[in-house]
């Protein structure tokens, strides 16, 4: 057995850092399927999991990969899979199963240009709405957007912690650029890493209800073999887990599913701001686009434009309250993202007409340069 936490300074790419983050967080099972540009996550996991007593399997497709990690999660493990656009689409039905069965797991999407096969080797951020709405039905989901290989490591641990806390699938919405970029990654000492494990139920097994929420709205979760004799179904179910085909049961279940996220937004939503206090033009961005946006803000400031930046670390649930408040004092918003308008629409929705909203977007395949952001800033404001 080798250590799960490779403390030290490394020069690795984002995908590898993500895998190291998963191992450090205690991930013991990975079901994968090769896809550019996420393959390196699976490759690294296939090397590392046997070293820490875990299991890697390359399944026959992404549907199987996603489903296998749910089985692994119910068997008591922390589990993960990693994919890119086409695989993400295939996983979507099972993501719904994970949501409704309240199964903790982490899904990494190293985004590439789409739709369809698109640009397999070039980055994009065009699956952001799919992360929110890709599976059918209403649900709340958690999605994080790392901006560097270091954050691929850090956010993977946060993703596992959120997943375990809220018994929900968590997405890491990376992209080809971050995934394939090699940078310095500092892995701290094991003791410096905060790890959260799922809450276990009380010892009383008679009449146990696997979906009866605890104080934070989340039900404790047993593992297979512990004797709780759970029944878990994708059908609408009561707290006991039994299917109930009524309007009332649907309402109750949905309230539970949405509530555990919506009532804990303060704990879940992570953002970072840059020169936001006196900013009039506010850039909203996330992931790789944040990197170039910082330069755009600096350049704007040097030209006397009061620009600031809000970086979404948690993209879903969306920081609605925060944007709403910023809209009251902002002259306008520019959303920087590698797509043709996804999160920018959320910004527009939350701005509620109080401030004009613009998109510095890109169809995919390349980053958005600071020049483009600056040009838009000067054109619109």
């Amino acid at each position: 057995m080798k250590p799960a936490v490779c403390t030290g300074v490394h020069f690795i790419n984002g995908d590898e850092a993500c895998a190291e983050g998963a191992i450090a967080a205690g991930c013991k099972f990975f079901g994968g399927y090769p896809i550019t540009p996420a393959t390196e996550v699976a490759e690294q996991m296939s090397l590392r999991l046997p070293e820490v007593g875990g299991t890697f399997i390359q399944m026959e497709d992404e549907i199987a990969a996603m489903t296998s990690i749910l089985g692994g999660a119910w068997a008591g493990c922390k589990t993960m899979t990693a994919t890119s656009g086409p695989g993400f689409s295939l996983m979507m039905e099972t993501v719904g199963l994970a949501v409704v069965t309240e199964t903790p797991c982490v899904i990494v999407n190293v985004q590439r240009g789409g739709p369809s096969t698109g640009l397999p080797t070039q980055g994009a951020q065009s699956d952001m709405m799919q992360a929110k709405w890709g599976s059918h039905g209403d649900y709340e989901i958690i999605a994080l957007a790392p901006s560097s290989p270091q954050e691929m490591f850090d956010f993977t641990i946060i993703a596992f912690n959120l997943s375990e806390t809220y018994r929900t699938p968590v997405f890491i919405m990376s992209d080809e650029i971050i995934g394939h970029m090699s940078e310095k990654v500092i892995i701290p000492h094991k003791k410096k890493i905060k790890i959260i494990n799922r809450k276990k139920p009380a010892k009383v097994k008679q009449g146990f209800k696997p979906f009866k929420p605890g104080a934070n709205g989340v039900a404790p979760m047993p593992a297979i073999g512990e004797g709780y004799k759970v029944h878990i179904t994708g059908l609408t179910h009561d707290e006991k887990g039994y299917p109930v085909m009524t309007v009332e049961a649907q309402e109750e279940m949905m309230a539970r599913l949405l509530g555990k996220i919506r009532n804990n937004l303060d704990d879940i939503i992570l953002t970072e701001d840059y020169l936001l206090n006196d900013a009039k033009i506010i850039i909203i961005t996330y992931g790789v686009s944040a990197r170039t946006s910082y330069t755009a803000v600096d350049e704007a400031r040097s030209r006397g434009i009061k620009a600031g930046l809000l970086r979404l670390i948690t993209v879903w649930p969306f920081p609605e309250e925060l944007i709403r408040n910023l809209a009251k004092k902002a002259k306008g918003f520019i959303t920087v993202e590698i797509n043709m308008g996804q999160i920018s629409r959320e910004v527009e929705r939350c701005a509620g007409g109080l401030a004009p909203c613009y998109l510095a977007g890109h169809a995919g395949g390349a980053i958005i340069t600071p020049d483009k952001v600056l040009a838009l800033m000067q054109e619109k404001f």
Partner: protein
């Protein structure tokens, strides 16, 4: 008058401890054979003497997919076709659990066909019970990958133009190490097969033919008892039969039996051998 004509309302069925009694009666139609197959499966679990907590049942979607909802152990009703990868996840994350997949032909062999062949290829240590009623029952009787040629369904009203899967042959070609086929009428054989599968290591595939009187029988002029009579009269038990000879065809006899039972290392055994060569 007979001296033993006693009917008790409150008495307990011998499998009561394995049933979610509060969910009975189950959803299966009168004359449906899934309950019989399920009963045989439960009997094998009971007779195994293994702690019920060391079992998990996984089902997909469809009539047979409701099986997991009635067994009082850790049980999972997953998405359509995905029972096997879910079971794979359980088995790999906790190899001590005996994982039984109980689902139907449409779920396991059509939408989930890819998972079936790959789990067989890997010799994943799980037991798959495939209730084959030759039709999509839950959705109202559409043609299945197992509906014999020329049989009628709601989407092949003039007769099925396709050829069905020979499931034991499919499982054999993919590498399954235990393959049997029975009908629900052969309940002791089904039970014995499931017991054998639980007791062995590797991928076990047990096909059990079962009547769907409402959605298959009604369109093909087969009352449920006619189907059972056909199972009785037209079936031939031929253990070790060549899998290629196991097609189910209109008017022909159905070959039953245990066809394959061989030992091969499982996925987990090979995985630990590869990664921890010094452990042996």
């Amino acid at each position: 008058m007979p001296s033993v004509n006693k009917t008790f309302q409150a008495d307990k069925h011998p499998l009561e401890d394995l049933l979610r009694v509060d969910r009975l009666p189950h959803i299966w139609c009168p004359g449906c054979g899934i309950g019989s197959v399920f009963s045989a499966c439960l009997r094998s679990i009971k007779n195994s003497g293994i702690d019920y907590n060391n079992f998990a049942m996984v089902s997909g979607i469809g009539c047979s997919g409701r099986g997991a909802g009635y067994i009082n152990i850790d049980s999972f009703h997953t998405t359509h076709g995905r029972a096997i990868p879910f079971a794979t996840g359980i088995k790999l994350a906790n190899p001590d659990i005996n994982v039984i997949v109980f689902s139907g032909d449409g779920d396991l062999c059509a939408i989930g066909g890819n998972h079936l062949i790959h789990a067989a290829r890997r010799n994943m240590d799980i037991t798959v019970i495939c209730v084959n009623n030759l039709i999509y029952g839950m959705t109202g009787g559409q043609v299945a990958a197992t509906t014999p040629h020329m049989y009628r369904s709601s989407t092949t009203a003039a007769g099925n133009p396709e050829s069905p899967f020979n499931l034991p042959l499919l499982a054999y070609a993919a590498g399954a190490t235990y393959i049997a086929r029975w009908t629900m009428l052969h309940s002791r054989d089904v039970s014995d097969a499931v017991s054998e599968a639980i007791g062995r290591k590797g991928f076990s595939f047990i096909e059990v033919l079962s009547p769907c009187p409402i959605n298959f029988g009604r369109r093909n002029k087969e009352k449920s008892l006619d189907t059972l009579r056909m199972y009785h009269e037209k079936s031939i038990i031929k253990n070790n039969a060549t899998p290629a000879e196991l097609d189910i065809e209109y008017g022909k006899s159905i070959v039953l039996g245990k066809f394959i039972d061989i030992q091969k290392p499982t996925y987990s055994e090979n995985y630990s051998r590869v990664h921890n060569p010094n452990d042996e």
